[in-house]
Amino acid sequence: MNWFERILPPKVKTTGRGGKKGVPEGVWNNCSSCQAVLYAVELTHSLQVCPKCNHHMRMGAKERLSSFLDDDSMVPIAESVGSLDVLKFKDQKKYKDRLADAKKSSQSSEALLAASGSVKGVNVTVTAFEFKFMGGSMGAVVGERFVQAANHSFENHQPMICFSASGGARMQEALFSLMQMAKTTAAISRLRANSIPFFSVLTDPTMGGVSASLAMLGDVIISEPHALVGFAGPRVIEQTVRETLPDGFQRAEFLLEHGAVDMIVDRREMRDSIAALLEKMGFGPND
């Protein structure tokens, strides 16, 4: 037990998970890597990066957009685009119910949020996946919001940045979800043809159909440290090749070594890095 843990009252230590009566929830959190006990306010300030070990914890879409964009610059895009259960899909649970549950538990309207704003004075369009919303899976709403964000970039000739965090396609939307790969790709190709930068930021995890479409199509591809990124999930690969995977397989550092990403950037330096790259590509601050 270190000094920090010693000074904590025993009940408070459990609040992160237990949420006992009378104790404010979420005041303290454990780093999911080094287990250090961290003050929630401190974590918000450090953008959910552990100040002790630099582990990048997952960040929600709302927090991502608001922390990446300049204060008070954010204007939401495509918020009104909502899900329809065209197939009336039902597995052990109805898709409709899964959607309702996801909205409640993630506090997000869908698995992708989009906004325009500025980063260090540069006008940009930003999209961020919400992993807590059905694993950040890409269905028709994600695809449409992404395309509307790309359209906004196109019309205003401003760079687009996407933060991915997704398990892949949304199975409950079947082939419609697969087609979102083609849909988002088409929107990116239009930006490309008009020399409007599209930056892809890979965060933990970015897999499957999202990895194999928009996430790998960045003019610049940046990964957060240690993010898991790949086409097939590690378990599927293990079942196919029947061997255990090497250490660090499909991690950001592995991708950098294999030439799949341009750079690994600490989340706390993301705004600076991206603004500096954009400035070199001809997209500096407005005033």
Partner: protein, 320 residues
Amino acid sequence: MSLDYLDFEKPIAELEEKIVELQRASSSSNLDLEREINSLRSRNHESTKAIFSKLGAWQITQLARHPRRPYTLDYIERIVTDFQELHGDRMFADDPAIVSGLGKMGGRNVAIIGHQKGRDTKERTRRNFGMPRPEGYRKAQRIMRLAERFHMPVVTLIDTPGAYPGVDAEERGQSEAIATSLEVMATLKTPIVSVVIGEGGSGGALAIGVCDKLMMLEYATYSVISPEGCASILWKSAAKAPEAAEAMKVTTKDLSRLGLVDEVIKEPLGGAHRDYDAISEAVKNAINQSLDALCEDSNEVLMDKRYQRLTGFGQFELKK
């Protein structure tokens, strides 16, 4: 009985065996069994019709994967004249899971690209069960760009369980290879026609399936994940694959009703594997007619239509 028959094909196989026996008996003796043979034939015809009139999504999935189903090279042999295969991605290797090349169809020069499965054990391994690695997709991209430069339409034949999920494939950028294929096809300035001839397995299928016109054979399937994969995630049991296949609407009939498929190519009674020549003829005609129509558009119109088609996928509601 041959192992090449599916469970629900059993009654068909049994009748066929009887017919063969009678034919043998009639030729080795002086008995005239013509009438018996003909009556068995018509019984077989009726029973096949009955069986195939009420196939479920899981049975159709099995038909799409039928070990005797015609594969890409079976079609190329019958529908393309003067086919010349072009190999390799010029970077790493030639992937036998994808076949590509140039040939002639209906008086036109075309580039043709398709997934290729193997028929016997050795060939299956060599073709990696039709599961491409990144170099397969990069070869396809190269041929597509070649087609664009020399004004040839692109024809793709889709038949894969999916892109290969392996360590080497990940190391060489499976995601990038698929993503780039999607972009090449989204922007290629020449008509693209795709036909799902068997299994349309997820991103590995779409990577050669972004097109101006999508056609599917009657008993082909197309899905975002295999029914087994979907079942093991959502039902926590791969044994629920039949339920997953129904729920995901993987069949041509359902996908066509949902507006995701532009044209259905009817198969011979009992499935494509019953008559390679007949199904090839149907596929050839469908492709040629589609290309006739697409080639009338200027490049500008073609590209505009494709962009609208691709960005139009998916339904959603607009709140407020």
